[in-house]
């Protein structure tokens, strides 16, 4: 049966989504590593094997994300902005504002009723605005990235960082731990810092409900909570938030051929 593939080559992970009419999308994710060409190949092959879809049934492939050029087997490339929008629209047709927290940058996208991106703002090129900030801190204080969210919710007084630089924030976090600051307060501090930057991006495009958060950052319920507190709105999160761009790519792959 006809299948459409979307591949999202992010700085951290490479994601593949296989879309078949009337069936739930098939998700597959691997670590990007540093050779995007190889990981793109690998991700697709694994996805096909895992889903039992024959290569021949794949009608079209759309690539997106940081390393989309590396997917030389794709029919075309599409901006991750449009793709995230489409992906979210598939699950939440009422969403008008998408907050996408990726490894390299954060984006806020405004959606039309048809799920097209009609306005967007992208964070500046510094890690302190991206999901990487949290990963870095989590790593150095020895918290598994999956634990970050639940743990951070325990925080009663988040720390305020004396620096905007993620690297300096790293050493600051380390010595705060050494001084006995609870890890949850340190994580909550970072979440606040990122939430603040997101809020200013949201201001630029203008907040419209419903609002959703996607990208790796959305896996962190702490970040979702603090952002929603800061914006004063409910934030929806799809079950596989980091797959939305890939899903969007798959959906536009379908548009390519139809």
């Amino acid at each position: 049966m006809a299948c459409y593939a979307g591949i999202d080559i992010g700085s951290a992970n490479t994601k593949v989504v296989l879309f078949r009419e009337g069936m739930p999308p098939y998700f597959h994710l691997i670590i990007s590593g540093y050779n995007y060409r190889l990981s793109a190949q690998k991700a697709l092959t694994e996805a096909l094997a895992g889903s039992g879809v024959a290569r021949g049934d794949v009608r079209a492939i759309m690539a997106t994300g940081f390393g989309s050029q590396s997917a030389d087997f794709a029919f075309d490339q599409l901006s991750d902005i449009s793709c995230s929008a489409r992906g979210v629209h598939f699950f939440f047709p009422d969403v008008r504002t998408v907050i996408d927290i990726g490894g390299q940058a954060s984006r806020v996208i405004q959606l039309s009723e048809e799920g097209k991106s009609i306005n967007f703002a992208v964070s500046e090129r510094c890690a302190s605005g991206s999901g990487r900030f949290l990963q870095v801190i989590a790593r150095v204080i020895g918290v598994d990235i999956k634990e970050v969210g639940p743990l951070s919710l325990k925080s009663n007084n988040p720390v305020t960082y004396t620096t905007g630089c993620a690297v300096f924030g790293e050493s600051e976090a380390i010595s705060r731990v050494a001084e006995g600051t609870p890890k949850e307060d340190i994580l909550a501090g970072v979440q606040n810092a990122i939430a603040a930057r997101i809020a200013s991006l949201v201001d630029r495009v203008g907040l419209q409900n419903d609002c959703a958060m996607v990208g790796g950052g959305a896996l962190d319920i702490g970040l979702v909570k603090r952002t929603s507190e800061r914006l004063g709105v409910k934030i929806f999160v799809p079950e596989a938030p980091q797959m939305m761009a890939a899903l969007g790519a798959a959906l536009s792959a379908r548009e390519l051929t139809s």
């Binding site: 890690a127 690297v167 705060r176």
Partner: protein, 279 residues
């Protein structure tokens, strides 16, 4: 009389104890932000090494990023003044100090051991020692290995990201694309040297130039800097210690002046406890 200089940097603590005639002991404490608060332990080490007790210290001067947080110091003096003093004591001909530390980079102009001008960058890790640390970690290389490697490069590769964390990413994917590691490193050394040079040039760099801080141990950085200057720089045997040495000397001078004037010496609380940065 014994005088201690203690320099608490962002990731390292250095202590030098001197008396009237010279250095009694010198210790470079454990590296890493998790340890920097343990200045008291480093002090105990230095005391044992010098075979003296804490009470034998006539005066203790703290300097560096963490100077405010040292509970057992009598006086705080900025690293700028201390580096100048320390460097001048080792290299009387020095006119300019370029210090690249973990959390900042400085340029200092000195005349007769005194600071006459200085510039500083401490906004973000780009252009500081941390940048190279992060990269060498990412490459699985020792900090001391990257310099020599960089020197083997024929053609530098430019890294476009300024942000250290994205640069790390970029370096690794360039590597994956088959770029020679030495060319990447050469590009990075050039980038930092360039940034620091342009900053220091604001006070018109004059010869002799002394490089201090951990990065001064990196031959790649030293040469990259020399390429900008067009002449060789001087590096102390232990470039990490100049700040602490300067602090100790300034303590000694302070006491001697006070004694000449017959004034009594104002001392601090003198609690040999861990330093705290955020309380």
């Amino acid at each position: 009389m014994n005088f201690a200089g203690i320099d608490i940097g962002s990731t390292m603590t250095k202590i030098v104890i001197i008396n009237e005639s010279g250095i009694v002991s010198q210790v470079i404490g454990p590296t890493g932000a998790e340890h920097r608060r343990l200045a008291n332990k480093v002090m105990e080490q230095a005391l044992t090494q010098g075979g003296i007790t804490f009470d034998d210290l006539t005066y203790v001067v703290a300097t560096g990023y963490g100077r405010i947080n040292v509970p057992f110091a009598d006086k705080q003096i900025t690293e700028i003044t201390c580096h100048a003093k320390g460097v001048a004591s080792i290299f009387p001909t020095a006119k300019t100090v370029i210090d690249i530390g973990g959390q900042d980079a400085k340029g200092i102009k000195i005349v007769g051991g005194k600071v006459v001008n200085f510039v500083m960058n401490d906004k973000c890790a780009a252009g500081t020692g941390r940048f190279l640390e992060v990269i060498s970690d990412a490459l699985g290389l020792g900090l001391q290995e990257i310099g020599p490697l960089a020197l083997q490069s024929k053609t530098k590769i430019r890294i476009s990201s300024t942000c250290t964390i994205f640069a790390e990413q970029e370096v690794l994917s360039k590597l994956a694309d088959g770029a020679p590691i030495e060319d990447i490193l050469a590009g990075l050394h050039e980038a930092i040297a360039g940034r620091v040079f342009r900053m220091a040039e604001k006070m018109k760099i004059e010869r002799d130039v002394v490089m201090t801080g951990g990065v001064a141990k990196n031959v790649g950085m030293v040469q990259a800097m020399e390429n900008h200057l067009g002449y060789p720089v001087l590096v102390a045997e232990e470039p990490l210690l100049t700040g602490a040495i300067g602090a100790a000397i300034l303590g000694r001078e302070f006491v001697e002046k006070a004694l000449q004037r017959g004034e009594e010496i104002q001392k601090g609380a003198r609690l040999l406890e861990a330093a705290s940065f955020f309380k």
